[in-house]
Symmetry: C2
Subunit: 224 residues, 2 copies
DNA sequence: ACAAAAGTGTTCCCGTTACACCCATGA
DNA sequence: TCATGGGTGTAACGGGAACACTTTTGT
């Protein structure tokens, strides 16, 4: 089988760009590296693909090891294959992004990995080619956000319209008119009002809403 | 450096999904495999990444070996990392798509590689996970086509508005009103009329247009 | 009483769509 | 002269943007 063995092999890594909302701000979960290479710099959480797992499996494993979570929304960003992207060895990396709901992670595990939440608009200096990975991912989710209902993965199951609007404003980076926003939500079948009231964030109380996945799949219109 | 060497290595391939227009139809350049694995099936053109080249370089090399062309529009689609996607060996593949202009290739090289142009709406059975690669790529270019001026890569440098409209109809899969289309073109700064006339496709003759890249970059509005 | 967030409709404008006929030319 | 593709304008419609005040309730 010379066809294969004439060719070189490579380490293949996955890098997980993990998003979450902390106090309404869009944040990334980053780790400060206390080992070489790039010791002292910040980086997104990564790991190597193993022989018995697909690249997608590896990304899910890395996420699970860091957060304790399964069944998180993840999607591939793309492969990064520059020759010298890792100063230690030739490594080809496949980047994924994940969207975590609030509080859906194990603080102890995060501490064990030197990981902390950093707002995307005040990122520290990142090692490797992670700056490019992150900027490409931000472009990707901003585009996707407007056309597909991925944002709900960042919110609790029940959320108020103010929370939803703030999320949109945060990710798209511009203010939205409240009445127009609520009008569009009302026309969006997959966002349904519950009869529950949230009293924690205002004196008056706000209705709680929920994303209805099966309604979305039966009539996948989404634009907000 | 146990950090790296504790981990397995993999063959890494690139697969090129090459688009071109043949007689106005959107086609893919496919090869009939006369070697294992998947002998006899059709596949997109691929190759292995080498130690001295990036993944992007490898994709460009594969394209050059097949077509003789440099400086072709190419973009990454993503990585495909399922464990058994290649029946012969574990291979992780990074897919790219390329857009070729008409006649911009060496017919002799194509023949040497058993390659031929196949319309995308009548594709033969493909090997490996190439069906998924192709369908993901088609989605990708259809989305991108409406928002960025990538379509001009499929046309000659000078083209008529009928050619441009037919291309849009072909890729988006629906007819477009001629007057509305021409109105939008007239409002699009990066598509400029030349004073040349094409007489080959009609008795009356049609004005030739050209995509002006620097105008696009100074005012990157594009929607057509 | 007041602070703080929730909730609610209408108007205007611009961009999108629908639509049908004349023009220039080579055969 | 006729067949073929090239070229042109207008009217109706609908979705998106702009805009300010009332409600509720805990302190």
């Amino acid at each position: 089988m010379a066809f294969y063995s004439d060719n070189p092999k490579f380490y293949v890594a996955v890098d997980c760009i993990i998003f979450g909302l902390v106090e309404g701000q869009l944040c990334l979960l980053l780790t400060r590296r206390d080992f070489e290479p790039e010791r002292g710099k910040w980086s997104v959480m990564g790991g190597f693909v193993q022989t018995d797992e697909s690249a997608d499996d590896a990304a899910r494993r890395v996420l699970r090891q860091l957060t304790g979570l399964e069944n998180v929304y993840m999607e591939q960003v793309g492969a990064f294959g520059a020759v010298n992207r890792d100063p230690g060895e030739r490594v080809i990396s496949i980047a994924y992004y994940a969207l975590l709901g609030p509080g859906e992670y194990d603080p102890q595990l995060l501490a064990n990995h030197n990981a902390s939440w950093v707002p995307v608009d005040t990122l520290p200096q990142l090692g490797f080619d992670h700056p490019e990975m992150v900027s490409r991912t931000l472009e990707l989710i901003r585009r996707k956000f407007s056309t597909e209902p991925i944002g709900f993965n960042l919110l609790p199951e029940l959320f108020t319209l103010s929370q939803l609007q703030t999320l949109h404003e945060t990710i798209l980076g511009e203010p939205i008119d409240k009445r127009n926003f609520r009008k569009r939500v009302a026309e969006t079948a997959c966002i349904e009002k519950t009869d529950l009231i949230d009293k924690t964030s205002s004196r008056r109380g706000a209705s709680l809403y929920r994303f209805n996945d099966s309604r979305y799949h039966s009539d996948p219109k989404f634009r907000i």
